[in-house]
Structure formats: C-alpha cells, structure tokens
C-alpha cells in the first residue's frame, strides 16, 4: 500500500468507529426519557467489549483462512503474526465488528436486562459475526463462490437485522406495546446521530476500497446519492400516505438509503445508486409497519430498516453490478446475466438462515442462564434509574 492508501484507511477506521456513538444518539433520541442512558450504554460498552474479543479471537475466526469454507482458524488468535498492513486491515474490520452487534440493541430497547445484553453481545461477537464475516469478506464459501458484499449488506445489516428479529422473538414485547404511546423523546438527538452516521458512512463504504483510489471515490459518491435518495423516497412515501413530512422520516430514510447502498457502493455507478437509494426509502417506509402487522416489538425498527434495507441492497447489487466498473464482481441482471444475481440471492438466504438460527439459540441460552428480561417493575420505572442508578435529564 502507498502512504496515501494507508493514510486514507487510517482515517476511515476513525470514521467508522465514530458511527457507533452516532448510532447510540440516533437510537437514544427515539426511546423514552426513562431509558435513554440504557440505550446509549448498550452501544458504548459494545465498543470496549468487541475490541477485546475481536483482538483476542474474533479476527482469527473471521480471517485466518477457512475450515470447510465455514469458519477461520485459530492461527491469528491474539493477533499472532498480524502486523503492518494486515494490522491496519484488522483495525478497519474491528470497527465493523463493533457496530454490527450495536445495531441489534435498537430492537431490544426498553426491557432487556443489562447483564444479559453484555452476555449476548459478547457471545454474538465471538460466534455469529466472525462466521458471517468469514463467509462474506474472508475465505469462506460465499466469497469464494463469487457472491459479493462491498461494505457489509450481508455481513453487517442483514446479519444484525435478522439477529434483532430472533432476539425480540425470545425477549417478547415491551410492556404496553403496541397500545401505549412510546414516542421518541428527542428527535434533535436522533438527527445528531443521523449526521454522525452519514459522516462515518463515508469511511465505512469508501474505506472498504481499502485504498485511496478511484474505487473509493466511486463508493463515496454512490453513498451520498444512496442516502439522499433514501431520504427523498421515505419522505415522499409518508407525505403521500399520512399527509405530512416528518423529521424522523427524513432521518430514517437517509439511514435506509445508506444501508441499501452499502453492499453495492463499489460495484455500481452513480446512476444505479439513485434507484437503490430511492427503492430503499419507499420499501423501508413500508417495512417499518410490519411489526404492527405481525406483532413483534422491534422497538426502533432494526428489522424494518437494517434487515429489509440490507436485503434490498444486496439483491439490487445483483441487479446493477458492473464488471466493467469493478473487475472483482460479476455483471448484474441489467447486463442480461443471471449468475451473479443468483449468488447474491443465495448469499442473502444463507445469512438469514444462519444468523437467525445462531442468534435465536444464543438468546435462548442467555435467557435460560442469566434471564433476558429486566424485572417488570424496573421496566415500568425505567431502566436508567433501575439498572444504572442515573438519570439523563435532571431538572431540579
């Protein structure tokens, strides 16, 4: 790598790390005042926990070759022999490993025991994330076979989104859901978080070029277009349906667009990014209503935005990908070729099945040992006071 490449990826590491506190604020604004610190804490502690487990074992399980094309080995445990440019690769991948379990936290907001979150997120970061990363980014079967995930549609967004669905199935709904209004307590906080996520996402997607080059430029441009079209799609959809445009809709649509462009950012040009972003805004606006139809309490719509946006983006990558733009990828359906699209479809189904099953088992194990659910009175009083002995807003 040139000095320029190294400099850009170093900066991208910092950008992607910044996304997790951004995500904390994005989520924190959407919960009620009694649970906001718990929400922030779930995210921020994940930074420290995953840094430890990824360094000690996670990186090795993801990127030390692939046993049976399913899981990496133990040769890089404790960063054995990992140095120089590979150490930079480790650091960049660490930031992805951090935000992925953090994404799940939005689904369980307002009723999960904190010790259970620590146990679940730690186990998930050791077992589920490295296997998915081995398949999608490493030497595992999906990557080897030719499916492609530029910056984490499969490995990060579908993986976290379907894990969120699995854990809320075990955890159950918040007391009072869906009849009691559970309104976001601070949308300005959510918008600060959205801005930080968007800013950091340039590191996420353009950094995934792993160099300061044309591919990174393309990814940055498609990311900006995807986010903007996602915002427009969502706002137009809700304006037509409910009669008013909302700030939460604009923020949610931008994130939906960012999610959907993530797997495609380095494989499609700027014009397909319009279609991917706009589709994400429309489809995710519809998808956040599914929890009311099917009765699962995904508090902050991790399923509706990250799972659905991730599936949409991964499949549309199979539609619009251009081998002429990036020789690493097959041509999409728009070029009259079906083989690459089929690989994307199989990749989506494989991550859905694996992550749902593994996450469900982990949730059951934590439930049987520690207990997933906070005490009922603690949930009613609020988790900030009962689980953390502190309050977000002191007015006296």
């Amino acid at each position: 790598m040139s000095a320029g490449d190294i400099a850009w990826v170093l900066v991208a590491c910092a950008l992607v790390l910044f996304m997790t506190p951004g995500l904390a604020l994005f989520y924190g604004g959407m919960v009620r005042t009694k649970n906001v610190l718990n929400m922030l804490m779930m995210n921020v502690l994940t930074i420290a926990i995953v840094t430890v487990v990824w360094t000690l074992i996670g990186y090795s399980l993801a990127f030390d070759g692939s046993f049976g094309q399913v899981i990496g080995g133990l040769g890089k445990v404790g960063l054995n022999g990992v140095e120089g440019e590979e150490l930079l690769f480790f650091a960049f991948q660490l930031m992805f490993a951090i935000i992925t379990p953090a994404l799940i936290s939005g689904a369980v907001a307002g009723r999960m025991k904190f010790s259970a979150w620590v146990a679940f997120s730690t186990l998930w970061a050791i077992i589920v994330y490295p296997i998915a990363a081995n398949w999608g980014f490493g030497d595992g079967w999906l990557f080897t076979w030719g499916a492609r995930d530029f910056a984490g549609g499969l490995v990060i967004h579908i993986n976290a989104g379907i894990a969120a669905l699995a854990i809320v199935k075990v955890l159950g709904p918040r007391k009072g859901f869906p009849d009691e209004p559970m309104r976001p307590h601070s949308l300005p906080l959510t918008l600060i978080g959205t801005g930080i996520l968007w800013f950091g996402w340039f590191g996420f997607n353009a950094g995934s070029a792993f160099g300061a080059n044309d591919l990174a430029i393309n990814a940055l441009v498609t990311t900006q277009i995807g986010a903007s079209l996602g915002m427009l799609g969502w706002v137009i959809a809700e304006w037509r349906k409910t009669g008013k445009p909302t700030l939460l809709g604009a923020a949610s649509g931008a994130v939906a667009g960012l999610v959907a462009i993530t797997p495609a950012a380095g494989f499609v040009g700027p014009l397909p990014a319009f279609a991917i972003g706009f589709a994400a805004g429309l489809v995710c606006f519809w998808a956040v209503s599914l929890k009311h139809r099917f009765g699962y309490d995904d508090s902050l719509d991790v399923v509706g935005i990250h799972l659905v946006g991730g599936i949409l983006g991964s499949l549309l990558t199979g539609v619009f990908a251009s081998n002429a733009l990036n020789g690493d990828v097959g041509n999409g359906l728009v070029y009259g070729e079906t083989a690459f699209f089929v690989k994307q479809l199989v990749g989506v189904l494989a991550i859905l099945a694996f992550s749902y099953a593994a996450s469900w088992v982990l949730a059951k194990v934590v439930d049987a040992t520690i207990g997933l659910r906070a005490d009922e009175n603690d949930e009613i009083t609020g988790l900030d006071l009962t689980l953390h002995d502190e309050r977000a807003y002191i007015t006296e």
Binding site: P181, R183, P184, E238, K241, T242, K244, T246, L248, G249, S252, F285, V288, S289, H292, D301, G304
Partner: protein, 112 residues
Amino acid sequence: MKLVIAYIKPYKLDAVKDALAEVGVTGMTVTDVRGFGRQSGQTEVYRGAEYKVDFVAKSKVEVLVDDPAVGGVVDAIESAARTGDIGDGKVAVLGVEDVVRIRTGERGADAV
C-alpha cells in the same frame, strides 16, 4: 381573598403574565402541566404509526387576589389567553381562608 387558577396554552403564558401585570398583579406561580378537555388530546405520527396523545401540555397559572380585584384578573386572563380555537383552557376562582406572608408575618388581604 380568592385563588385564581388558569389552565392555558403554554405559548400564551407571556401574554397572560403581561395582562396580569397591567391590572396590578404583582406575583404568580406557574406550573407546566398536562391534561385534556374537549380538545381531548392530539395525534402524532412517528414512522407512519399514529399515536393518540391524550395529555396535552398546558401551563397552570395561580394568582392570589383580594376580592375587589377578582373580576379584573379573570377578565385579563380570559382576553389574553383566548385564540378562539378548541383547547384555550379554563379559569377557576376558589375562595381562600387566609394568606400569610412568611417574611413579615402579615395575614389576610395585606399578605396578598
């Protein structure tokens, strides 16, 4: 002596305070409260889901007044707080047995 309690729209608070000052009121207590009357709440929409919010934010203004001033105080609140829309609020007048100014020990009308 009377205690005048007004439940008003929060953004009318400054207008009510100024109107009360004009009729000679020198003190009041204001509390942020929530409630509903015929307005019966409002609808908010988050990510396409409609929430019926029963309790609407209001300001509660309490003023202690001597009997002769009651009419002017109630009129001042009424005209300053009115928009004509549903949800303008209410004014109640309650009888008060005694009032004590703690600093001086004055009682009754002198303490108002």
